[in-house]
């Protein structure tokens, strides 16, 4: 047995076609007026370069390497993020340094180079989860684009200065403490 299709009985007014057309025109004109008198900020369209979309909480955008108040990097070059990264886009080179203010002469570890290949990165946030020092995290910035491949290789200073301007922090390009010449350990 087939499906019985109920036919809608149109009233004579609807069958004239003129009245339904006028109803439809009323609807479109309502939309027209509503859109006309809506301020630009409240319209559905976000006019991109002038207005930017507010990303939801937990959005994973561009990475930032955090720093202490004095500008020293929080990262201790433990390589956890490099290990955790499923896309293998993080590469770290460690170095030793001595920070007399904080470590009282002890030698500490920090990345000499910390680079993320943004072309490879899948913005999964595993590095953020793996980090024991909360030194790396992904923020809401989504404008990651460049004209060539080389400028998508983000180095240590790029990652540290990513948000310095919107956060009102100073741009830094040098560690506050010098590194210690590497001692070779004779095995």
């Amino acid at each position: 047995m087939g499906v019985v299709v109920k036919k809608v009985e149109l009233s004579w007014l609807d069958r004239t076609y003129v009245w339904p057309v006028m109803k439809g025109m009323g609807i479109t004109f309502q939309h027209f007026l509503k859109q006309l008198f809506t301020p630009t900020a409240k319209r559905f369209t976000i006019q991109y370069p002038d207005m930017k979309k507010e990303m939801p909480e937990g959005y994973r955008g561009l990475h930032e390497l955090k720093r202490f108040e004095d500008g020293a990097i929080k990262c201790v070059a433990c390589f956890m993020c490099q290990e955790a990264c499923p896309a293998r886009c993080i590469s770290i080179e460690a170095e030793e340094f001595s920070d007399l203010n904080i470590t009282q002469g002890f030698e500490e570890k920090r990345p000499a180079k910390f680079s993320i290949d943004m072309l490879r990165c899948i913005y999964c946030g595993m590095c953020e989860e793996a980090c024991p020092k909360d030194a790396i995290w992904l923020r809401k910035d989504y404008e990651v684009a460049a004209y060539d491949r080389l400028s998508m290789q983000f180095g240590k200073w790029d990652l540290m200065n990513t948000y310095s301007e919107p956060d009102g922090k100073e741009r830094i390009s040098e560690d506050p403490t010098p590194s210690v010449p590497r001692r070779t350990i004779a095995l």
């Binding site: 057309v21 025109m25 609807i27 004109f29 859109q35 006309l36 369209t45 006019q47």
Partner: protein, 353 residues
């Protein structure tokens, strides 16, 4: 006017004619260009979008994107002008002009303001003075020629989609012309003449004496047929973007396409001017017996632009008709309706109204 004429070594009549020509054609042309913007912004607003608002003069003055037509024009001029290999080259070049010229010429007979006397000479605000013997038969005849633009464009470009679009469009235009003509004939009958100035003066300045109140059925028929004549949605059979690529202008690019598109908007302007003249009292101002010249021109412009906006409005409200639905509406609804309208008014006149 006399001074200007003597300065240009012409007679005042010629100078006035040239001035009218410039005013009318520049006016219709710029309104058509403006209406491309109105169409885009209006459709955007109807669909809760924003539309083109970024085009700016010198990169700074935006004025709601009003310079978008200018930018479009510049872009069209610098586009490569392609002619398909197997196209009929002469006709392919001729078609945009065949489409544009009738669309512009139809406006010539329509009075866009009241006549006035200055310095013992009477000036008429219409390209063709009243009493030229053609009257409103002229725009109807010229409107019939608009078919050639579409058909020649379609046929010469040697493309299946184009031919399909052109054939359907010409069939639609021809079949709707009958209903439209009968509706207009009724007006000629009740007016007792077919000169536009007679039609306007017969309607008077009171809105309830206008033809829209006297002949609402005729207005509906004429209005519907105007959509078919101008080839706009819901009777968009010449283009039909969703089914036959772009119809008759598939192969057209650069300024030739621009001319075809402009001709559509010029046609729209002429059609709305016709509607204002025939059914809404032309330049008559409601409740004002003897309006000044400027006021009458303003009144005409308001009416005309309102109908031009209704064209845009309807386009973004109604879905497209199917071809058989269009034909059924044309022959089985529009034609009988206009005939009933004609016979009813003939009967009323015979009863001495």
């Amino acid at each position: 006017m006399d001074k200007l004429a003597s300065l240009l070594h012409t007679s005042p009549a010629t100078a006035w004619m040239v001035a009218k020509l410039v005013i009318v054609f520049a006016g219709v042309f710029s309104l058509a260009a403006l209406w491309t913007w109105v169409e885009r912004r209006g459709s955007a607003m109807i669909q809760d979008r924003i539309g083109p608002n970024r085009a700016a003069l010198f990169g700074k003055i935006k004025i709601l994107g009003l310079v978008q037509p200018l930018a479009d024009g510049i872009k069209f001029f610098f586009k490569e002008d392609l002619v398909p290999h197997d196209a009929n080259k002469a006709l392919f070049w001729l078609a945009p002009f065949l489409a544009l010229v009738p669309a512009l010429m139809g406006f010539a007979v329509i009075p866009f303001g009241r006549s006035f006397t200055s310095g013992g000479q009477e000036y008429h605000l219409a390209l063709l003075d009243p009493g030229n013997g053609m009257g409103l038969l002229y725009p109807l005849a010229i409107g019939g020629m608009a078919v050639y633009g579409v058909l020649v464009a379609a046929w010469s470009s040697n493309n299946k989609w184009s031919i399909l679009g052109g054939m359907r469009a010409s069939a639609a235009m021809v079949s709707y012309e009958i209903g439209m003509s009968l509706a207009v004939v009724t007006i000629f009958m009740t007016t007792g003449g077919y000169d536009p100035s007679e039609v306007i003066s017969a309607q008077g300045h009171l809105p309830w004496a206008w033809n829209i109140v006297r002949q609402p059925l005729g207005f509906i028929v004429f209005f519907t047929c105007m959509f078919a004549e101008t080839n706009r949605l819901p009777f968009d059979f010449a283009e039909g973007e969703s089914e036959i690529v772009a119809g008759f202008n598939t192969e057209y690019g650069s300024m030739k396409f621009s001319l075809l598109a402009l001709s559509e908007y010029c046609h729209l302007m002429t059609a709305s001017a016709l509607m204002a003249t025939l059914y809404f009292g032309g330049w008559q101002v409601p409740f004002v017996k003897d309006p000044s010249v400027m006021l009458s021109v303003l009144s005409f412009l308001v009416k005309m632009l309102f109908f031009a906006w209704v064209f845009v409005w309807i386009r973004w409200t109604l879905p497209r008709f199917r071809y058989d639905q269009l034909m059924r509406l044309g022959w089985k609804a529009m034609l009988p309706m206009s005939m009933v309208n004609l016979i009813f008014h003939a009967w009323r006149m015979s009863q001495g109204h």
